[in-house]
Amino acid sequence: MTQSWTFGRVFRLTLLILGALMFLAPYIFMISTAGKDQSDIFSASLSLIPQHFAYMANFTKALTRVSMPNLLLNGVIVCGLILVLQVVVAVPCAYAMAKLKFAAARILMAVVMLGLLVPIHATALPLYVAFDKLALLNSYAVLVAPFSISVFGIFLFLQFFRAMPDDLIHAARLDGMSEAGIVARVIVPNAWPAVTAFAIFSVVAHWNDLFWPLIVVTNQSYATPPLGLLFFRAAEAGDDYGALMAATLIITLPLVIAFLLAQKRFVEGITMTGLKG
């Protein structure tokens, strides 16, 4: 596909490049400001190159005020546990609904469809009261438990399993495999694209979630990255934007790097799961 440089094409490219610059501007200023000291920040906000390279000072501040490694580790633990539980719970259920005959399948489908409508924001109040009564606030359990069930996961896997040929399962049954064995060794390996797509969706959603952690965690040692950043902002009164930008940079980087490394899968995953925001 070689195209000549027509006026239309130059115009389109110019638009795309200008737009890209606008979309990248927050990142550019984040990286630039993370290296500026207070006097730089207050004098010349449009110059991108810091005059007194304060990267070390700002990053030290960011790393010492709130324990960044702890935040990131919490993020990994919480998102990892949620993802594993969601897959382990949703895959067998979706398999049963798609490939086995049982009376409850239709009612279950109705519950799943209704469940898709109910975000955590709607169930948070009674859940909070219950976890408070159980004295489970400020724990990994409270951060993970409500998300152990993903009706969206069931919905996604269900559609994927329905498209799988029955012969595959019959052959496995003839080989004497148990139903649990079929799920683990036939269904899951064949459903890998759906699992990856779901994994990306789930991790992006829960890594970014502020609402639930904000409600149930007040102890910094259980803070997830978004909540930790709020704590950092509260501790960093005033306009110390240098340190703030260093902190945002540290906290944004892991997911952005993951995205840049696997962007094709990311986009595919988000497109496939786009159904839910």
Binding site: L16, F42, M97, A104, S148, L229, D239, G277
Partner: protein
Amino acid sequence: MSDVALPVSAIETAAWREARIAWLLASPAIVLMLLFIVLPTIAVIVLGFTDFELGYGSFRFVGLENYADLISDRTFRRSLWNTTVYTAIVTPISIALGLGIALLIESEPRGRDFFRTVYFLPVASLLVAMATVWQYLFHPSIGPLNSFLALFGIPGPNWLGASSTVLYGLSIIGIWQSVGFNMVLFMAGLTAIPRELYSAAEIDGAQSAIDRFRLVTWPMLGPTTLFVTTISVINSVKVFETVKTLTEGGPNKASEMLLFTIYQEGFVYLKVGYASAMTVVFLAILVVLMVLQYRFLDRQVHYS
């Protein structure tokens, strides 16, 4: 007799066995769905009829009192209105930009991956963190945006600090964050359009790009557009992170939005009953949006 009955009961046993295994496989999901979705949803509806407050032992049923209070609650009405304005700004602009950028990228063979990555980057970035960056960009005196405007002699507003502009500021962040998401959905929709349709349209006299868009692209994208619209509206109604991080509903409740108001009443003031009534309103909005989507879907002509 037994010769006939045996295979029937064997089939019955097999069916029963299959159902039992299905129940076993589905039971963890069923239990968790009841525990974390069905029961809490029922509970929030019931709590909406009570004066339950966390920290007080007893509560009583107050009927529709909470809902009557909501109607006259100025903060809640302000919150509903602000959420509506925010949604009315963010949704159309992020859809139009998403579609526009998807079309531009599709028509340009060079740099496709690069542009897709750049426009999608905000979707993969931590919103609370990027909101902090936007707060700096929007800063009235040291922010780059107003310094930039000053180069042209335009006095920039106090974006997030003035009640007249705070909703626009938050909307800009919302648009920036969601365009890439809409764009990839449109790109998927665009690649699903058969190429022959474009040549057919050309033979029928659709010469200009605008004609081709009007006659082929737009109608073929119908289902995608409906889909993107629903998600965008729902996501805008659910705006919370930027409000909590940057404005806390201020100044003067000018950026008070639905989820933030619920959070404030329920989890800061601990008025669980009252906040539950608000949550029911929020759920009702989501249900209405879904019903609207299905209505449209029924009426829509499919070209597949």
